[in-house]
């Protein structure tokens, strides 16, 4: 066991020395992998932030019942009592048409529109706050409320939430496909990088095998090299994404302010980032392992 550990240590140390001796070539290899990883990593970060933003925007789901223009207060009261009886409804409130018109006049961007309207065109409304995750129960309540007299329109905002959720899932699937393609590309890059190393060190490999080196012994320094390059590439990708977030957050902040929020782009949690670095290292390892294994298989004794 100690010889095994010792050789791993020697292989890692020799790998680091070798990479340091050729800084230009190492930097180019790391940059190629970093760019390949930065694309899916950046897309994933954007997606994660979009999910976070959607969570903020969604708030609690709610259902809005717009009464007919000739509806009386009693009609709205009937809607309120029907909603209160539904287990999925948390509370409801009546929004008289005058209050709605006043809110419209004070809303940014709608002031001018309201000024052109003259008379109040808005109906009375009942806003029902729903329990989170109400889903089908909320749709059933909406259907029941539509049947009540003097109800003109029932608007359930779960629909846009479902659409948003579907869009985010579509985005996640696209990111996964992009990541898979670029992971394959990264394995190919590492495969070729290690293959070139094998060619330059083929004499050493041949002599090592003649004096009794096992395939593991021969493979070890190369897989360490692949792993280290993968890790460095992952760190480079992380740096690129973090730098991009930093650059973008200025504009994101200004945009968020216009919506009355202090939203900023953020990196995923540290645990997720460490997992990304682990994955990058594993991809580097895989490319190197495949490259060396292929060479060893092709150079078996005839």
């Amino acid at each position: 066991m100690s010889a095994w550990l010792r050789h791993h240590g020697q292989s890692l140390a020799a790998t680091l020395r070798r990479l340091a001796r050729t800084p230009g070539a190492t930097a180019l290899d790391v940059l190629a992998i970093g760019i390949a990883l930065a694309l899916p990593l950046g897309a994933w970060v954007v997606l994660a932030n979009a999910q976070r933003l959607a969570g903020h925007a969604a708030g609690d789901p709610q259902l809005t019942v717009f009464m007919s223009l000739d509806a009386a207060r009693a009609d709205a009261a009937l809607v309120e009592s029907a909603a209160a009886a539904a287990p999925v409804a948390r509370r409801s409130r009546f929004v008289p048409k005058d209050q709605a018109f006043a809110e419209l006049k004070s809303a940014a961007g709608a002031r001018e529109i309201a000024a052109t309207l003259g008379a109040n065109p808005l109906p009375d409304a009942v806003v029902v706050e729903l329990a989170p995750g109400s889903g089908p129960a909320a749709e059933h309540l909406a259907a029941e409320l539509r049947k009540l007299p003097k109800v003109a329109l029932v608007q359930l905002d779960a629909l846009w939430l479902r659409r948003l959720d579907a869009l985010l899932r579509l985005g996640a699937a696209a990111v996964a496909i992009l990541a898979a393609m670029l992971a394959a590309g990264m394995i190919a890059v590492t495969f070729n990088t290690i293959r070139l190393q094998i060619v330059t060190r083929s004499a050493e490999i041949e002599v090592s095998r003649l004096v009794g080196a096992t395939t593991s012994f021969v493979r070890r320094p190369f897989v360490w090299q692949g792993t280290v390059i993968g890790l460095l590439g992952g760190l480079t990708a992380l740096g690129m994404v973090a730098g991009s977030i930093h650059l973008l957050n200025g504009e994101v902040g200004r945009l968020a302010t216009t919506y009355g929020t202090d939203f900023r782009l953020a990196l995923p949690p540290a645990g997720d980032l460490v997992a990304c670095l682990g994955l990058a290292s594993a991809l580097g390892w895989a490319g190197a392992y495949l490259s060396v294994s292929r060479y060893l298989h092709e150079s078996r004794p005839g």
Partner: protein, 220 residues
């Protein structure tokens, strides 16, 4: 039991060339034997079968009773650690020092560094290269390079030393120096098998010569 035994060994290459045909001979433990014959007689092929660099097409090559041809690939490195190999092409690493070249078999075996260094210095001393540890192979003469190959071959204390034309390209004095080294190891119990077409050398050093002619053993 012989240390090395060839039992009706044949080797046919993919292009159809038969390098060995029904070759049978044995080398006893502690022997100093030569494989002789003209160029192309099959000497190198026979030597390469012993550490499983090549595999026999027919027959069996036994090393210490083990059928080398039947070994799994994973077992071959462990066979090679018991055989000291001095190749015609030398295969020294020219970007490594004398010390590092001789150290390679011990690194491969996972020998602790301090013990490995001690054995390397002892091996270099035995072949007359003490004090040249830091030199690169290109700084050595032909004879010194060959002695470095021998040091690398013996550093793992093998029971069998196999050498393919170890005196090729050397002047007669250097050739004799190299053969004396082999004889010295043989005196302490190492079995030595040397392939050489140099009849004078065989006559001077060999206790037994296995003669090959176009792949067949014609004298043993």
């Amino acid at each position: 039991m012989p240390l090395v035994s060839f039992n009706r060994v044949g080797k046919r290459y993919p292009d159809g060339f038969e390098a060995l045909r029904e070759a049978s001979f044995a080398v006893e433990p502690g022997e100093f034997a030569f494989l002789t014959g003209h160029s192309g007689a099959g000497k190198t092929t026979a030597l390469r079968l012993i550490p499983a660099i090549e595999r026999a097409s027919s027959g069996a090559v036994l090393v210490n009773g083990q059928n080398v041809g039947a070994l799994r690939d994973a077992a071959v490195p462990f066979l090679r650690r018991t055989i000291g190999l001095v190749l015609q092409e030398q295969k020294l690493l020219h970007d490594r020092s004398v010390f590092e070249n001789a150290m390679l078999p011990l690194s491969v075996c996972g020998e602790p560094p301090r013990e490995a260094a001690r054995r390397v210095r002892a091996a270099l001393d035995k072949v007359g290269l003490a004090g040249r540890e830091k030199a690169l192979p290109v700084m050595l003469s032909g004879g010194e390079q060959q002695r470095l190959c021998i040091a690398r071959a013996v550093v793992n204390r093998p029971s069998l030393l196999v050498a393919d034309e170890p005196t090729a390209g050397l002047d007669s004095a250097a050739a004799i120096d190299v053969m004396e080294i082999f004889r010295a190891f043989n005196r302490v119990g190492v079995t030595v098998l040397v392939a050489s077409h140099d009849a004078a050398l065989v006559a001077r050093f060999g206790t037994r010569a296995v003669r090959l002619d176009h792949g067949r053993v014609v004298g043993a």
